[in-house]
Symmetry: C2
Subunit: 226 residues, 2 copies
DNA sequence: ACCAAAATATGATATTTATCATGCGAAAGC
DNA sequence: GCTTTCGCATGATAAATATCATATTTTGGT
């Protein structure tokens, strides 16, 4: 079993507030998992009795809408924690989490984490700060959905994927989403998303190579995205 | 100066976790304000050195979008706290708060509130739970904006106003928003909003009397809203 | 009470976006 | 290896929504 004390990822999450003692205890009670692309970490409505710390990989958080379509609310990557909200509010999770590529995650049982809230104020403050950041992001997301066109949102999302997850050696986006997933992130029909990608391709803002997407003209994309 | 200990509103907010001693101290350091409809409590980008506790009235939280239009992110009413996020993350507020009707609010300076975080774990937990609820709501909001039509969103918003703020003696919605504000809540053009209200009126789902809106057929509205 | 300005309303039209239909190519299952 | 399915692509069309123009009504100020 790997030691949390030496886990680099810890430094990026609220867990960085933990003391040496707490980390040692954490190492003993955590469970590590390796997940394949497509694996479901948890599903909307489930009870998750603890939190997941993402050591490597990326997953999507989705929510089922009234019309039966999944909407991708957020992408979450290494260093971030999953399931805090459900644990704090003592409710079933309201989002599903699915691996977008191979992942390594550690599960920390609820009892352990709740102890930190009681005894370690820094930890509580870190969690609160994270949630404040999430809320701010959510507001931005809301306004973008309400006010921007699909084209603007697509450009913004491509830039977000580029800036947050980087590119491969061949310059293509590291995070590979299907057209359907991309559409579900920006909130549009799959065909509309495909059509706009084709347009961007024709205007040489991006290049398409099968599933791969290469951003060719970042500054123009930024202008479109606002 | 009124005593926080006797303020009913306190029971609805995270402040309910405070001890008698803390409440007494709070009474001394808070400042009470009476605000007229339209008054600006704070504006996006400002530094707010504390939190506001709403004793009475309703305000809108808005965010300026890239195209220069205000979007109403949320309505906040008595019992709720304003400006927590900004205080916790130590950043300027990212939303503006404007009174929708006459309000009574109390301002509590940052130093006082930060003390509660340190010493009163129940308070921290309450704040966290509130933020978890806000995040959940934000997810729902995001999915609605992404997947529902303007008509569905209008119906849902009317129902929300009805359920959250109630009706006057003449059955009209207690919260009176201008068409522009309503449009800015559901994320559409003012004209589109007006047109759909007219449609609802013709279908006898609602009745319009100047600015007043009366919900006549709640169950049909619910069907439309999903 | 009167006027100017703002809010509401509605028509005409343009634009954006979704939906339906179809084809094509690659990947997955037998 | 073959077929079947799935993801991507594109055209045609319909529906939703925004925009511009212009009345009409309401509101606020003096």
């Amino acid at each position: 079993m790997s030691k949390c004390e030496q886990c680099i990822v810890r430094e990026f999450s609220s867990l960085k507030a933990l003391t040496k003692d707490e980390l040692l205890k954490l190492s003993d009670c955590k469970t590590s998992y390796t997940l394949k692309k497509g694996a479901v970490i948890f599903e909307e409505g489930e009870n998750v009795n603890g939190i997941y710390c993402i050591k490597d990989g990326v997953c999507k958080l989705t929510k089922l809408s009234a019309n039966g379509k999944d909407h991708i609310v957020k992408l979450v990557t290494k260093g971030e924690l999953l399931g805090q909200r459900s644990m704090i509010s003592d409710e079933p999770v309201n989002l599903s989490a699915v691996a977008l590529n191979d992942m390594q995650v550690c599960f920390i049982p609820k009892a352990e984490v709740m102890g930190y809230f009681d005894k370690n104020n820094n930890f509580s403050m870190n969690v609160m700060k994270t949630m404040c950041g999430d809320l701010k992001e959510a507001d931005v997301q809301t306004v973008n959905l309400a006010q921007k066109t699909v084209k603007e949102r697509l450009a913004a999302t491509l830039l977000y994927l580029y800036q947050s997850f980087g590119e491969n050696d061949d310059k293509s986006l590291k995070i590979q989403l299907s057209r359907e997933e991309l559409a579900s992130m920006i909130g549009t029909a799959t065909e509309s998303c495909i059509r706009l990608l084709s347009d961007f391709n024709k205007q040489e803002l991006i290049a398409l190579d099968g599933k791969k997407i290469i951003l060719k003209d970042i500054s123009s994309l930024k202008k479109i995205a606002n």
